[in-house]
């Protein structure tokens, strides 16, 4: 299949070739010159001169020149050739890297389950994270497949799917599914943003049980809200009071002494004096959640860097929970050394971090808890509960991906099938250089023919 990026050049070339042809047909050649050693014995007469009218145009030269113009036009038109494709494929993308706690037998079962739903389309398994990268593998030989020694990321999988499918000319449309170990170790920066660009289709995820994660969220266990009390410093007291109330955590004033271990203290947009007091409470065993702008020279907080609002993010992702897919305004900075990331934005950059301090815990969220986009969400109370569990959810990289993260990989909003023929068009063979080469050959022929015509 040949596609043309700039068809206007072809039209212009056709017009120009027509002009060249017209000029040839209008102009006529002078009579031919021929050698004759006895020419000195010839005599010129009127009848001979009559026969020597200018000849019709040189048709081969005209065709050569028109071809030259058309070749140049085709070269500038950006023609691309892609191999012909037809048929529908069903691709199962398999994470074969040394994912944490990968249960390979379960993975094979999930692949078999996925391929069983091919609905008549040819089923293909693409494994990634192998020692030799990614490739199509035989379903029957999955049991003996030698897996990679390093964990593969979700981005590796998406790119492998694209490359293998685009290199395979069997299918014009492809429906894909993903057998994945959904832990945070497979997540990497930017995957949320790049996801639709790499594979513009839905990818139903079959989650392989993770041995280390044990199939349960690290925060699961006894109810963390039981017997808690909370207090709020700074802004958003009303909003927080409502949300914490929904969790069954009563909100009261900050008591001076003594601090009560396990209680929650929220501080948003606090001063340096207030920060010092909150950190002291954390050392006494309370769980302090600080959010929004930090005071100048803040120390003891699990966050470093600029506290100026930087950008508007698509949403927050908290392990084990759906994403808060609303736009929020984030502050700058990165987690401090030794701090655990407890939440990320949809583009996988850290959003919140936690660090143990004395008997308590300090959590920092780089979005103001008073941000309207957050507290307008029905998940707002759950976000608060997850933030306060930050210091106990320390094994975040091996924790199971939250529903929000999985949703951002699965993308139910994208179509079920992908037109790979359309995708491959961008990666086809550009024909411009071949047209230029042909034009150069024609130019050489034109020069040689013109020269020979002049000599004769």
């Amino acid at each position: 299949m040949i596609s043309v990026l700039l068809p206007g050049f072809l039209l212009a070339g056709a017009g120009l070739a027509g002009v060249v042809g017209a000029l040839h047909l209008l102009a006529r050649r002078p009579p031919a010159r021929e050698a004759l050693p006895t020419a000195r014995f010839l005599k010129e007469d009127a009848r001979t001169l009559l026969r020597l009218q200018p000849r019709p145009t040189d048709v081969p030269l005209m065709m050569l020149r028109m071809g030259l113009v058309l070749c140049l036009a085709a070269a500038f038109a950006g023609m691309v050739w892609t191999p012909g494709r037809s048929g529908e494929g069903h691709v199962v993308l398999l994470d074969a890297g040394a994912g944490s706690g990968l249960d390979w037998d379960s993975a094979i079962s999930l692949v078999a389950e996925a391929t069983a739903g091919a609905n008549g389309a040819e089923s293909v398994v693409v494994a990634y994270g192998l020692e030799d990268g990614a490739r199509e593998v035989d379903i029957a030989s999955l049991g003996s497949l030698e897996r990679g020694t390093e964990a593969a990321t979700a981005e590796d999988g998406l790119r492998a799917l694209r490359e293998v499918v685009l290199a395979d000319t069997r299918f014009s449309i492809v429906r894909a599914e993903w057998v994945l170990v959904p832990t945070w170790s497979s997540w990497n920066d930017g995957v949320g943003l790049m996801r639709p660009a790499i594979w513009p289709g839905r990818l139903p995820i079959h989650a392989v049980p993770s041995a280390r994660a044990g199939g349960s969220a690290p925060s699961a266990g006894s109810d963390p809200t039981r017997g808690r009390r909370a207090s709020v410093v700074g802004l958003a007291a009303d909003t927080l009071e409502l949300a914490l109330g929904a969790l069954g955590v009563p909100v009261g004033p900050v008591r001076e002494a003594p601090p009560r271990p396990g209680d929650w203290v929220f501080g948003d947009g606090i001063s340096s004096t207030e920060l010092g007091a909150l950190l002291e409470r954390a050392r006494s065993g309370e769980i302090v959640v600080i959010s929004g702008r930090l005071p100048e020279g803040a120390a003891g907080v699990p966050w470093v860097g600029d506290a100026t609002p930087k950008s508007r993010r698509q949403g927050l992702v908290v392990p084990g929970e759906p994403g808060f897919a609303s736009g929020v305004e984030s502050f700058g900075g990165t987690p401090a050394e030794g701090a655990a990331v407890v939440a990320v934005f949809a583009d996988a950059t850290p959003a919140a971090a936690a660090v143990s301090t004395g008997a308590g815990c300090v959590v920092y969220l780089s979005v103001s808890v008073a941000d309207g986009a957050l507290h307008g969400s029905s998940n707002y109370p759950e976000l608060l509960r997850r933030l306060t569990g930050g210091c106990s959810d320390r094994d975040v990289p091996n924790a199971r991906l939250g529903r929000g993260a999985i949703a951002s990989l699965q993308r139910d909003d994208l179509p079920d099938v992908v037109d790979v023929a359309g995708l491959a068009a961008d990666q086809g063979v550009p024909l411009s250089k071949w047209w230029v080469a042909l034009a150069l050959v024609l130019l050489g022929g034109e020069l040689a023919m013109t020269r020979s015509r002049r000599m004769s």
Binding site: P31, A32, R33, E34, A35, L36, P37, T38, A39, R40, F41, L42, K43, E44, D45, R47, T48, L49, R51, L52
Partner: protein
């Protein structure tokens, strides 16, 4: 005489046109093919003279060398006869090839005039060497070039054919200068075979003068004219702007063959040249590039041999 050259009548080689010879490739094969056509078996060279090999008897005349008297025949007949012998390597000769630009003209023939001249020279060189003569090779085009001195030794034919192959048509030459230089190069009386289209800028005046100088010193001069029928006006050409390849700026709009006077003017030019040559005692052989070489050369060599026989 034993060695009169005679074309082998009815053989296929008689009919070999130049285009077939061209396909044979090397000049060596071409020369052998032509010579096989007009020399058979023990036939000897048509170039007869006095040498070591007995030819025939002739009545003694005053001035004859008494060492050639046949005393046995005198004893039987009581009359004096001298013994005549076949000439061997006494004769030196030169093939002078016209390599001017006009000789590259192909016209209506299958080969150019130069290529045809190379065939002629190759065949005659073969014949001369078989007869024990020593042919050399020179050419004139942009310059006069001496390719080989006259020799008769094994391998000389090969060298001569290689020299012929290397000649290319280029420039406009002066035959008179070439003939004078060839005459100087011959140490004694010899034979000069000029192969040319004989289209000279001055209508051949200087050329005839040079031939006269060669004849005056006793050299035999043979002029073989090679032309295409298109040049001679015997084939109808088409309307075009014609020019002489050696004078490309002079253009004539004409149709050769439709010009009633063209053929006559060319013929008149060559007739005048022929008369001039015959007045000088030179031999003139007109050939066209479409003539089978065996027929053309064989007939001429046979006639020449008869003349030699009558003269002696």
């Amino acid at each position: 005489m034993r060695g009169a050259a005679r074309p082998t009548s009815g053989e296929a080689s008689d009919l070999l046109p130049p285009e077939v010879l061209e396909r044979l490739g090397s000049l060596d094969l071409v020369a052998k093919t032509i010579v096989r056509g007009f020399i058979s078996g023990a036939h000897r060279s048509p170039f007869v003279g006095s040498g070591e090999d007995f030819s025939r008897h002739r009545a003694y005349q005053q001035g004859d060398d008494v060492r050639r008297l046949d005393w046995r025949l005198f004893a039987r007949t009581d009359r004096l006869y001298v013994r005549l012998f076949q000439e061997d390597s006494n004769l030196q000769g030169f093939f002078v090839i016209d390599a001017s630009e006009s000789m590259g003209f192909v016209g209506d023939g299958a080969v150019s005039k130069l290529r045809y001249s190379q065939f002629v020279a190759a065949a005659l060189a073969h014949v001369m060497l078989r007869a024990g003569d020593a042919p050399g090779l020179a050419s004139f085009g942009a310059d006069t070039a001496f390719h080989l001195p006259p020799r008769n030794r094994p391998g000389h034919l090969h060298d001569l054919l290689v020299g012929l192959e290397r000649i290319e048509a280029h420039g406009a030459g002066a035959p008179s200068q070439a003939l004078d230089e060839v005459g100087d190069a011959l140490r004694r009386r010899g034979r000069v075979v000029l192969i040319s289209d004989c289209l000279f800028a001055d209508d051949g005046e200087e050329f005839l003068a040079a031939v006269a100088r060669l004849r005056a010193r006793g050299d035999e001069v043979i002029v073989i004219r090679v032309a295409s029928r298109l040049e001679l006006g015997e084939v109808e050409g088409h309307a075009a702007r014609y020019f002489d390849p050696e004078v490309p700026h002079r253009v004539v709009d004409a149709v050769p063959g439709k010009d009633p006077g063209f053929r006559g003017r060319v013929a008149e030019y060559y007739d005048r040249l022929q008369r001039g040559l015959e007045e000088q005692g030179a031999e003139y052989l007109p050939l066209t590039t479409d003539m089978p070489l065996v027929t053309a050369l064989g007939g001429w060599l046979m006639a020449r041999a008869r003349r030699e026989a009558r003269a002696s």
